[in-house]
């Protein structure tokens, strides 16, 4: 059950959330785009972004109450590594116009070639990073 059915159902729920945003608001559920858009606030464009992010965080609170083990724990990395990882994700997703949700789900569902290239690229870069840190360096600190 836990190996594939729960992830599959989780994916469907996530897809429904993205579909709801498209149906009602006509927006693409790309998390980096929704968050990054707050850096260039425009009139009437801020409320829904803040609400979506608020919904995400509320989801975290609900998950922590219902099934805290599902949230896992951070990979043990030092302060510097964590900050660098965050900066890479923030800057990289803006430069590349999307992340796992925007390119990996919404873009691929649209059949976008750009999103396919982006998804394959960040998966490969992620796998290469894990290979280097885990198998060549023997873990991060």
């Amino acid at each position: 059950m836990n190996t594939f059915l729960l992830p599959l159902l989780g994916g469907v729920l996530l897809g429904l959330g993205a579909a709801l945003l498209l149906l009602f608001n006509g927006r693409i559920a790309g998390i980096s785009g929704i968050t990054g858009g707050l850096w260039t606030p425009a009139s009437g464009d801020t409320g829904w972004r803040v609400a979506f992010i608020g919904g995400l965080m509320l989801g975290g609170v609900v998950l922590a109450a219902v099934r805290p083990s599902g949230l896992g724990a951070p990979v043990p990395t030092g302060v510097g590594t964590t900050l660098v990882a965050g900066v890479c994700v923030g800057f990289g997703t803006r430069l590349g116009s999307g992340c796992t949700s925007g390119h990996g789900v919404c873009g691929l569902a649209r059949g976008s070639k750009r999103s396919l290239v982006a998804t394959l690229t960040f998966m490969a870069a992620g796998a290469a990073t894990v290979f280097v840190t885990r198998h060549l360096l023997g873990g991060l600190s």
Partner: protein
């Protein structure tokens, strides 16, 4: 106001899906990316479920002339693959592999996850700010 409410509900569903699927567990994410080690394929099923359901829903939704609460559906963005796209995806992949967090799960875990995820989000928001300050916005 209605748009704010629907966006909040969409965010909540999205978060519950991420949590249920295991995307909020960095060890699981790193396990998924660890193709040379003890590979954990379960997150591929999250992607399959999300992609399948969204692709299907999208086809039905786009039969409408317009969204329920907005004027128009988004137009198709630029189709060209460029260096910026690839460089951005590489940087994102490196950060994702280092931490096990991508933007959605990081924001979900933020209120309950302690110092590490808070540091990650600070870095992420700063990285977006640096992009905003240094790089010209794409047309």
């Amino acid at each position: 106001m209605k748009q704010v409410l629907t966006a909040g509900v969409a965010g909540l569903l999205f978060a519950l899906g991420l949590g249920m699927g295991g995307m909020t567990d960095p060890a699981k994410v790193v396990g998924f990316l660890d193709v040379a080690g003890a590979w954990d394929p379960s997150l591929a099923f999250v992607m399959a479920g999300a992609l399948g359901s969204y692709a299907l829903a999208r086809r039905v939704i786009l039969r409408r002339a317009a969204p329920v609460l907005a004027d128009a559906f988004p137009g198709a963005p630029s189709a060209s693959v460029d260096g910026r796209l690839v460089a951005g995806a590489v940087l994102f992949g490196v950060g994702w592999g280092l931490s096990g967090y991508c933007p959605g799960p990081a924001l979900v875990v933020l209120p309950v996850g302690g110092l590490t995820v808070a540091l990650f989000v600070v870095g992420m928001v700063a990285g977006m700010g640096v992009f905003r300050a240094l790089v010209k916005q794409p047309g």
